[in-house]
Symmetry: C2
Subunit: 116 residues, 2 copies
């Protein structure tokens, strides 16, 4: 997951090994779909500590609730969001710091010997 | 392309419309593969203004040169890298500012007091 192990210390500005690349590719792949990116933006727009009911997400798309839930599951498996069921509905939020860590990964300044 | 139109102004912290999401999903999808992510890191590790010969990239993978070239083409189509042929070889570089803009997109502050 981004923010742990490989992801915390490596940046895209130093060559990634296979394990780091495999781990991080999952995160980018999760974001590499228009529906998931819109879902992610809807959840992230609530800010730190905010959450969204799945009942607010589904009406924004012309897709079935199982399809939306599947996309949300992929975002969750990538370590980007988490959720909790309360009564009828499931509520989603962005995991704290995950977008900051992903951004830091993209822009980590290149430093000599960073791969050590 | 990231850094133009939608991508320059929108952040993941505000809901994306369909066009913005479709455009940006292409960029994340391009990064959502371990081989492409490693290629990207090898190219980015040369820093601003640096470039890499495809002849240096291919030996790092147990993949054919046409396969590597295909992955590089997808990164180029996503607006992440560009290339130029000189003599026998093609040289690749990261488009200036593209990773910074992608990082800014991920972390565009939605609320006051966002992490510095």
């Amino acid at each position: 997951m981004i923010g742990q192990d490989a992801a915390c210390c490596a940046g895209l500005s130093s060559p990634l090994d296979e394990d780091q690349a495999a781990e991080l590719a999952k995160v980018f792949k999760a974001l590499g779909d228009p529906v998931r990116l819109r879902l992610m933006s809807m959840i992230a727009s609530r800010g730190e500590g905010g959450e969204v009911c799945v009942c607010e997400l589904t009406p924004a798309f012309e897709l079935s609730q199982p399809t939306i839930s599947h996309h949300l599951k992929l975002l969750r498996q990538a370590g980007l969001i988490d959720c909790e069921r309360r009564g009828t509905w499931v509520y989603y939020w962005v995991l704290p710091g995950v977008l900051d860590r992903l951004a830091a990964f993209l822009t980590a300044p290149q430093t000599a010997g960073a791969t050590a």
